[in-house]
């Protein structure tokens, strides 16, 4: 059963009186534990599509189911609860909370979003800190670590709630080439370890090659899909 099913998704933004289409009837399915990339030039609709899958926005038309939930019909609070339980986010600018340490940033979703016991929190955060290689930096604040380290912390934060899906919008855009590969490999490794579906967007052709399933977007349309093997499966419909 597909983790994500999108049918005829359309998204329009209004600029004054004019409706500007961002997505034009996009349909696809993504299976669990996939490592997926949405590729396309700037303005092709990658971020819009990730925002819809991540329940941060709603489509103008079409059906979208994530983890067997009709996310289009979710109200504001239900949507937040769904995101907290099901989806992890990795942002282009890392978006770590500057007042929290590395450890606390990873712990944040368990404290504020899910009510997890202290022992379990400690176990999960420590395990992820070790997994992303940041155990030695647990007490540092975000301004005391490098960009690559920040993104590793962001990966750990996204995974700490054991989500079914992690969305990463241009996760390597602010990283140098080596660090970008390292972060992608880390994400893949996490996918293998936790069976989490990773979807990331990028316009960098070198990074795209790391994805196992590639959806290409152009002018709001999903043009083609490439399956390059791996654990998951995805197809445009």
């Amino acid at each position: 059963m597909a983790l994500i099913t999108a049918r005829q998704i359309t998204k329009e933004y209004r600029v004054g009186e004019v409706a500007v289409p961002a997505l034009r009837g996009v349909s696809f399915e993504i299976e669990p534990a996939s490592f997926v990339s949405f590729v396309g030039p700037s303005g092709s609709g990658k971020t819009t599509l990730l925002n819809l899958i991540g329940c941060l926005d709603k489509p103008t038309a079409g059906d979208l189911r994530v983890a067997d939930t009709d996310v289009v019909s979710l109200e504001r609070k239900a949507s937040a609860e769904f995101r907290g339980k099901t989806i992890g986010f990795i942002f282009q600018d890392f978006n770590l909370l500057p007042v929290l340490t590395v450890y606390e940033n990873i712990e944040y979703p368990l404290l504020m979003v899910q009510k997890i016991s202290s022992q379990e929190r400690q176990r999960r955060v420590s395990a992820l800190l070790a997994a992303v290689g940041m155990a030695d930096h647990r007490g540092k604040r975000p301004d005391q670590i490098s960009g690559g380290q920040k993104q590793r912390v962001a990966v750990a934060r996204a995974l700490v709630t054991n989500p079914k899906l992690v969305l990463a919008d241009e996760p390597t855009a602010n990283l140098d080439h080596d660090t970008a590969y390292m972060v992608l490999n880390l994400m893949k490794q996490m996918r293998d370890e936790f069976n989490t579906t990773f979807i990331f967007s990028t316009h960098d052709p070198k990074i795209v090659g790391e994805a196992e399933i590639i959806f290409t977007l152009e002018d709001g349309k999903l043009n083609r899909t490439k399956n390059r093997g791996g654990n998951g499966h995805g197809q445009s419909l």
Partner: protein, 412 residues
Amino acid sequence: MGNLFKIAIRNLLRYKRRTLLTASLITVGVVFVLAFVSVAGTFKNMMIGQITDSMIGHLQVHRKGFVASLETLPLNMNLKGGAIGKLEKILAAQPEVEAYSPRIKFGGMFSNFTETSSIRITAIDPAREFKTAPFLPERVKNGSRELKSGGILVPELLAQGMKVKPGDTVVVVATNADGSVNGKQFVVTGVMESATGPGGRDGYIHMDDARELLRMEDKQVSEYAIRLRDFGKLDAFGKKLAGLLSQELNPLGKPIFEVHTWEKLSPFFNIARMIDLMTFFIKIMLIAIVLISIMNVMIMAVYERIREIGTIAAIGTLPGKILSMFVIEGLCMGVVGALIGDLVGIGLVWILNLSQISYDFGMQKGLVLQASVSPADILMISVTVIIVSVIASLQPAFKASRMEPIQALRHI
């Protein structure tokens, strides 16, 4: 909840200078309000104390209608035998009453045998009067504080104008209830200053002398002054006594007595009210300072952290929790400002008292300011500041909690 406080405090410390400035503003506001409340309150209490303890008493009972015609001090409005007995019986049974004192008040002429002037006489039973108005003896500047039969305490300005001094013989002439005029010689026992300032023409004689001068064959009293054990219970006791006395009716079925607190009998009550009004407006200013400064800081905080709000909202933080996060920041700032303000304010009041600041009230010179601030005032001001801080944070916090994560994340 502890984690929300931790994050709030760290966010406040993130902008140390701004937080310090805002907390300082609140602190200064609290300090000034505490200082004003303590000084103004002390002055007000001293003023009320002087008026009630040296002249009026806490409250008074008269025959119904007496106060309306107080200017003429009518002798035909005096309380008489049966009414006096009933009143004394009721007053003696009240545990709130510390002391009460009968008085006869009348107008007359004061003569030193060469000049004559008008005078208002209050005839008292000294032993009972000094318990009811304990500051009264302290107003005697020259001569003896004891008032015996045949003696008169002369007001200071009248004594100066008529050139009389303790030991001199004077005559008081008065019209009694049936219209005949009588006179009686008195020896000036002492010269007393006015409680309320220049112009006082109130002299004191013994109750027995007044009865002789006014040819009163039966016991008569113009008013009863009452002193309570606890001044704070004045209003409650005033109502209680009025209720008790309202049951005492004359043969026509009309009430015999009327009860007035000092507030109804002294123009200084308006000054006390003005002090209360000024205190109220000072508190309003404090509320405005707290409201504007906290709201300003919180609006800035929300604006500067839009992307952070977007991040925490995106990862599933519920709107209520985001609202709490910002409200707690305002709350913390209010608590810190109030606490520091309380400490500095108490310190300032202590320094004021150490400085031995003196002032004049009426004819009394060199009264030393003994400012005090009550725990109730500190609590009330602190709680007000904290509540206003929370209210001021609500609008920015609500705005933060209602932000769409997608728009917040796009914010640059």
